[in-house]
Amino acid sequence: MEDFDDDEFDGPIKKFMYVNRKAPYGTVYALEGLEVVLITAAFDQDVSMVFVDDGVFQIKKDQETTAINMKNFSPTYRALEGYEVEKVYADKESLESRGLSADDLVIPVEILSSDEISELMDEQDVIVTF
């Protein structure tokens, strides 16, 4: 019987892209999407994460949710690096139209043009949008 080695995954590695399009708190999409990314990060796939449209608000710094009685999950995005999710992008156009810049964000991201994001999407095997 073959030994199962937990650390080695020798199945096919696919390119997964998670596209985050919703603001946090108003709906549950942002939190659920983040949980899916953290769970699937355990499967040694080629994962990238993109923040577009209102999704860029998910990584706005200074979130303070005490008064609305909800969990502030924005610090959790800092854990992505520890899960080896290192390809994290944000859409320049989405940031600019919302008055945001790299300085406003809780994690370092690579800011890409819409064209560059389109190219990245084309290269993926699986795209999951929240």
């Binding site: 708190y25 608000f57 706005k60 979130q63 005490t66």
Partner: protein
């Protein structure tokens, strides 16, 4: 008789704020709550919607929702007033009725 309108959707994702402002009369008030507070930001592609009615309509935003979304340090539209939950209740009392735009 003046209405208090509440808007809880992001102006970047939905047209709810525009729909509200199309029918809101001068002298009424608009309170931005939940994801609606993103419309309170100055210098965005949506800011003009409120700026163009500023003065004829009173605009408010719910402070706890601004804080939750990390917007406390960002510039908000001039003339817009932040209220807390008690202020929300005061507004409900002050206006004749509440129109909740969902």
């Amino acid at each position: 008789m003046a209405l208090l309108h509440t808007v809880n959707k992001s102006p970047f994702e939905r047209n709810v704020l525009s729909d509200c402002l199309r029918l809101a009369k001068d002298g009424s008030a608009v309170l931005l709550i939940e994801d609606g507070v993103y419309a309170a930001l100055d210098g965005t592609s949506a800011s003009d919607e409120i700026i163009s009615r500023n003065g004829s309509i009173k605009f408010f935003a719910l402070g706890p929702d601004i804080e939750a979304r990390g917007l406390s340090e960002k510039p908000l539209i001039d003339g817009l007033t932040l209220v807390d939950y008690e202020g929300f209740v005061d507004l409900v009392e002050e206006y004749s009725s509440v129109q909740s735009w969902l």
